[in-house]
Amino acid sequence: MNRRDYLFRKIVFGLITLCIVVTIDFFLFRVLPGDPVRAVIGRNVRISKENQQALREQFGLDKPIFPDQFFDTLGQWVHGNLGISWSLRRPVGEVLISKLGSTLLLISLGQIFSIVLGIALGLFAGWKRKKAVDVGALTFSLIAWATPTFWLGIILLAVGSSLFGLPTGGSVDPANVNKTFFENLPDIARHLILPTLTFTIVYLGEYMLIMRSSVLEVLGEDYILTAKAKGMSNWQVMRKHALKNAMLPIVTLIALNLGFTVSGAIYVETVFSYDGLGKLFQDALAKQDFPLLQGAFLLLAVSVIIANMLADILYTYLDPRVRQT
């Protein structure tokens, strides 16, 4: 099979997965206990029973879930319309896009740092197996991996704000919000330090551990011995033979993680009151804002599927065996 067919097959499978996920999500939200109208208005004494009913009709909740609500929603989506958020009373697409930027910034910085550091640390630890460096790095990674995100976040927040005067919340100072992105860059960066650090530490451990064991496995292979026998230096062996092979599990892990990072972002964003998608998802769930939830999960599903497709494609470059099957 050539690469084009392979890609085509992956895209078709991706689309099928997407349809299934979206359908499951639709029904999943609707079997949640509770009444979205009540959730939107809270225990508000000012809303009469008549108004609650009007709201219910406006949301389309007076109709049966299947087929009416389901096909109404599907019809909207086919027209590229994600609906109107009940709690924010704004188009879902618009809301998602407005929050996407800051979350992408946070996630990508966190991932880049944790991937680069994790790989470097794992490689180094694997190489210096059983030396003090290895033991130290291993201990650190195990602890980092096991630490709950929100706990680490709160500790870093307390330390960072008391000792280094770093901001306690937000993605930018509210007084600066009217300035342009570039004028605000120093302020945005200051607000990013603690959340990014939290993100990095939490994911660093996992990458390091996988990289280390992967390196150890590769180093035991015959071709490494052969390479050494050819008289290559340790560094050359690492770079030319070990690294490339040891990278395969990491690529899988990164692709898998891309989906989970958004959920990880929920913790980090909540701790640091960081204005992004994670926080939006949490609010949407708490308020049972179905259109927003569906939009959010659509975005999540699409990003996970794309990440996995990218990983598959990357595999074809990293591992010739995949290309040939």
Binding site: P33, G34, D35, R38, A39, V40, I41, G42, R43, N44, V45, R46, I47, S48, K49, N51, Q52, Q53, A54, Q58, S87, L88, R89, V95, S98, K99, I154, L157, A158, S161, S162, G165, P167, T168, G169, G170, V172, P174, A175, V177, N178, E269, T270, V271, F272, S273, Y274, D275, K279
Partner: protein
Amino acid sequence: MRVGWMGKPDTLNPAYAFLTESYIIFDLIFNPLVTEAPDGKYVGALAKEWKHSDDGLTWTFTLKDNIKFHDGTPVTADDAAWPINAVMKDPEGWSTLANYVAGFKEVKAIDAKTVRITLDNPIGNMEYRLSFLYALPRKDFEQFKTAEDLQNFNNDKAIGTGPFKLKQFDKDKGVLILDANPDYFDGPPKIDQIIFQTFDNSDALVQALKAGDVDMVTEVPQSAFATVKGFANVKAVQTPGRYFVEMIINSVAADHDPKPTRNPALEDPQVRLAIAHAINKKDLVDVVLQDLGKPATTIVPPILGGGFWHNGDIKDVEFDLAKANQILEDAGYKMGSDGVRAKDKVKLEFRLQYPSDNPLYPRAADLITGWFKQVGIKATPQSVNPDALTAAITPAGDYDLVLWGWGPDPDPDFILSVMTTEQFVEGGWSDSGYHNPQYDELYKKQQQTANPDERQKIIWQMQEMVFNDRPYIVIWYEDILQAYRSDRFKGFIESPLGIESQASLMQAEPVK
């Protein structure tokens, strides 16, 4: 000044605002005719003075001088009258304010300075109702043709008459900035600017106060209050609040449709009395609430109307386990070998449910279960999703005992309505199923009693009914917990209205 809080306004459009945060901002940027003062009395906001006819059907308000909108337009009586008319004409569109104009017949600007309101029947809480009807610029709101258009309007360039004017509101970015209004008719505030910052995490909010990122916190979490008290340069403020926690006893009529599902022993007034004797409210306040409140008696908290509406004559049922035992014994509930009393095979076994979103309830339930055990009542504590619990209560009536809370309005009308029979329907506010025709009658009567002393008498009587029939055993009243940086600001008024109220922020000033 920077204010840190855990929420943000849902909209600045009074026609359709739900959240407390919205009303905090309305209080600062808008003015109604009259408003609640820190002592619970009503004072003129836009109105210099007002009077009503002897029959209570005609109210006349005279406006103060030099009132201007933030854009400089002078405010006339018409600007105060038209929003009230708009609400009356389109109750569906102005749905959050519609309740306040029920019973209004006509609102008219007689001349540039006088507003006259005529009523269909006397209204007991006229001033309270008017305190939510703000003067608004006509042109901002009259453009909307349908209720939906009106409600979708976010009013994020809100123009009002208040001591602060909106500089910027961007809900997406979570930005809310108010500037002082130098032309305010009662003199400008001493604080130049207020920036509101939303936090998603209460620990971070407390840390922000400590680090000085914010100057005021409108709601300090109960668990953090002791810590905040210890901060340098921070004044922690504890004032009696309106919020209370109660034990709901299933009081749904036996012939209600659908039929209530409960332990029938709860229908016995002696069992209810014994339950009341077996709850140590003082211990609950000390241990669970960490002393951040007071033991409670009635559904009308002591601070409403500055203490005017709360029936202080009601003497609480004392905590006395021996007495509780005796009452049950006398009522024929004999102790079984398993330590649970029973009469005619009806065992005193109850579900004790509470919503899962409040960390205080499980601890309270634990203590209560322990006391109950000593009098031969077996309670099974159970944490339930709040929405599921609501569904189990109304309309199903499927519960025995429930711990939950209410935050009543400044006027007792709302919390009294919770106990009326007609509210026990899906979407209604009753969660006890209390049904007492005499109470319902009194409820209507207090609504139409314009004389405060007479209304007080009725309301006291209603509290007594609820206290004696025990659809609720009100357990505690919670204090409002706030804090501010005393090294930066001073002069706040500590009252049930909160240090962020208009009255308080008009007094507050930076520390030089």
